[in-house]
């Protein structure tokens, strides 16, 4: 379970979001919606422990992320898959090296074993043929798939975080990425947090939805609750 309790997160003294209460039950996917600059990526940085809460606490499976030491964070992050906005693949490495990066850095596996793992992951995201390509030879959708594969390299993930996984993609590719997210979810029974500002994609992948506006969470609930809301911000969001 991921639980935010009265969390404030921000840079320097300025809070970007405050008083956030969220709860993602095991095996569920929560979608975070909000306009650009509202602090969606910032929330993910909180879950990753890159950013410490200025107030409140973030709890993932019983451990308080803000309290973890640097070496505990390392172990903690092994069970978290993070898919960055735009993928953030290392462009000096091949696709295969990107996916195997974590294994080369942190395990003493030999090359064959790592390559086998890379191939398994690429097969899972449907891209076995690009193993020796460089990221800049891939299309946007392929990059996101590779990023998803890379984020699952350490071991089977417990939590998956996706930062705008479909932004800038055509509707078909967006859809296939959403299907992939669902597939990861059902295969590994992970908890997921998906950040997006696309409502269609949100409803395609999510079980729960949470809206951020004016640095606060203004509504959390399932699809029904969202669609019944008469909050003006949410109504505009729904009508686009």
């Amino acid at each position: 379970m991921i639980r935010f309790e009265h969390v404030a997160l921000g840079y320097a003294d300025r809070p970007v979001v405050q008083d956030v209460d969220l709860e993602v039950p095991d095996g569920k996917t929560m979608v975070i919606l909000g306009d650009s600059g509202s602090g969606k990526s910032t929330l993910l940085k909180g879950v990753l422990g890159i950013l410490k809460p200025q107030a409140g606490q973030i709890e993932v499976n019983g451990s308080n992320v803000g309290d973890l030491e640097e070496n505990e964070l390392l172990a903690y992050r092994q069970r978290i898959g993070m898919v960055f906005q735009e993928g953030a693949l290392f462009d000096s490495l091949t696709v295969g090296e990107n996916i195997g990066f974590w294994l080369w850095e942190h395990t003493d596996w030999n090359d064959e074993k790592i390559e086998e793992r890379i191939r398994t992951l690429l097969r899972f995201v449907g891209l076995e043929s690009v193993i020796d390509k460089r990221p800049d030879e891939l299309s946007g959708g392929m990059k996101r798939r590779v990023a998803i594969a890379r984020s699952m390299a350490p071991q089977d993930p417990l939590v998956m975080l996706y930062d705008e996984p479909t932004t800038g993609l055509d509707p078909f590719t967006s859809r296939s990425i959403c299907d992939l997210i669902r597939q990861v979810q059902s295969e590994f029974q992970v908890m997921s947090l998906v950040v997006t500002h696309d409502l269609h994609d949100a409803f395609r992948v999510g079980d729960l939805f949470s809206f951020i506006h004016d640095s606060r969470v203004i509504l959390t609930g399932n699809r029904e609750k969202i669609e019944r809301s008469d909050d003006p911000f949410i109504r505009t969001f729904l009508s686009t």
């Binding site: 992050r77 993070m82 960055f84 953030a88 290392f90 974590w102 850095e105």
Partner: protein
């Protein structure tokens, strides 16, 4: 009032603090966990890639210096000293400074823009999330490569400059080659050789550390990357010139004026 002043002072010194922190942690990684593979790649890119431009610059500096000194010294009948004067000015100053300034255009700009781009595309965040310290993986190998390659390039460049100087002195100044060489040998004093080695070592550190500093602090898009790259090159050039003067002064203080 006081706190406002303090805040301003802190903001002014904050880059200095983060530079010192970056460098000290970078060195710690270099000694605790040396990444030989990454360092070799950087040595190739920083050093081997710079060979043509550094050597070309050195050769022309040697040619020109011999030409000019010949003009100055011929009226005094001091041509016999040409070898010593050319060598001294090349290995003490011209060689290291010129090689490093040429390198800063290539190396500092390359590092600042590469790391800046990695930062703005979240590749550096991705490294952190994957449990790898960017200072370990990116900064330490570049610092190490700069420290190793800059002295090598500079000293080979000095040698080429001397050969070029010899060529001009013989061809234009009609100085006998053995006379020139004995001047060269006279100039290879402990103080001069210390200059020849210490300066490029220090400049190699300036080139790479300033490139890393600006690169790691870049946020934003292509525009910001371009701006911080330009700033990095200017800063590297300025610090090379300033530290050149300071090292010269320091070594003269140590050795006295014994040349």
């Amino acid at each position: 009032m006081m706190t406002l002043f303090l805040e301003k002072a802190l903001r002014f010194f904050e880059p200095v603090g983060s530079f010192v922190l970056m460098v000290s942690r970078g060195f710690r990684f270099m000694f605790s966990r040396f990444r030989i593979g990454d360092t070799l790649i950087q040595m190739d890119r920083i050093g081997v890639g710079s060979i043509p431009i550094v050597f070309l610059a050195s050769i022309f500096a040697g040619l020109d210096m011999a030409l000019q000194f010949e003009v100055v010294m011929a009226p005094y009948g001091a041509k016999a000293l040409l070898g010593k004067v050319v060598t001294t000015s090349i290995i003490r100053d011209m060689g290291p400074v010129l090689a490093s300034l040429v390198m800063s255009a290539r190396v500092t700009a390359g590092i600042a823009s590469e790391l800046g781009m990695m930062n703005s595309t979240q590749q550096i965040d991705a490294l952190r999330v994957m449990g790898v310290d960017p200072l370990d993986r990116l900064v330490a190998p570049r610092l190490a490569a700069g420290l190793v390659m800059m002295p090598i390039l500079s000293i080979v460049g000095d040698f080429l400059a001397l050969l070029a100087g010899l060529g001009i002195s013989v061809a234009v100044g009609h100085v006998p080659a053995p006379l020139f060489w004995s001047g060269v040998r006279d100039a290879l004093t402990a103080q001069n050789l210390t200059n020849a080695f210490l300066k490029p070592l220090f400049f190699g550190f300036i080139l790479t550390s300033i490139g890393c500093h600006y690169g790691m602090r870049t946020s934003g898009g292509a525009y910001e990357v371009g701006r911080s790259t330009t700033k990095a090159v200017v800063a590297a050039a300025v610090w090379i010139l300033i530290s050149n003067f300071l090292i010269s002064k320091l070594l003269i203080n140590i050795w006295g004026l014994s040349a």
